[in-house]
Symmetry: C2
Subunit: 136 residues, 2 copies
């Protein structure tokens, strides 16, 4: 399951993309429009900022805006920042690899093979950019 955090993150980035004229957008505005608990959103935004997906401006007319070309922000990227691996089991994750510590031989583990294949099928869909997502 996609966590709410990740879903909120995707919504937030989509919102910033579609309201990029009035930059920056305050967390309060996003919170109200996307119905995301304010303090929870702040937390997500900080994580997105750390990973340089958004940038922020402090002060009275401050807020957030995209830190990079929306053609270079993918849904998979957001999911990895917020939730971690895309893969359904850690032993087939490329960026968050972890041994499952159960099978004796990872090379021949059939569950691993199946979920490796699954990951391969999932990626092209999730590698869609925010611009592509907005056009759906």
């Amino acid at each position: 399951m996609l966590s709410k955090r990740a879903k909120y993150a995707i919504k937030t980035i989509l919102y910033l993309y579609e309201n990029k004229e009035q930059t920056p957008v305050s967390a309060k505005t996003i919170s109200e429009n996307e119905r995301i608990p304010y303090k929870f959103l702040e937390n997500i935004l900080r994580e997105l900022k750390t990973h340089q997906v958004v940038k922020s401006l402090r002060g009275a007319v401050g807020g957030y805006s995209l830190a990079k070309d929306p053609n270079e922000i993918t849904v998979s990227h957001l999911m990895r920042i917020i939730d971690g691996p895309i893969a359904l089991i850690p032993c087939v994750s490329e960026r968050f690899y972890e041994s499952c510590g159960e099978c004796t031989d990872e090379e021949t583990c059939r569950i691993r093979k199946l979920f490796g294949e699954l990951r391969t099928e999932m990626l092209p869909v999730l590698d869609k950019t925010i611009v592509e997502l907005a056009r759906l």
Copy 2:
């Protein structure tokens, strides 16, 4: 992420399939060979029995065996029994549909479209049968 329960279930069914000569196989045997906590396994087995994936025999030489043709048991079926929906968001699940309660219009929700597409790509992989899984 795939839950341990679901992973154990897949392992269990694979084990039963590959040891179908010596039917039935006791929970204890499966527990030891697949390193699954005994009482946890019993619980999983009961759920699989309720859904008629395995059948059981009581008494001194009792145990479990497949209740149907392994060509008709898919990984997706096991996952749905144990974990519920395959889809990463409930509003695109066919068998476990639930409104996400967030978007104003489900028909135009782009996150929903993306994850509907994702589900479509995932299914063919997970619809593999135990026989196919064993051959990987």
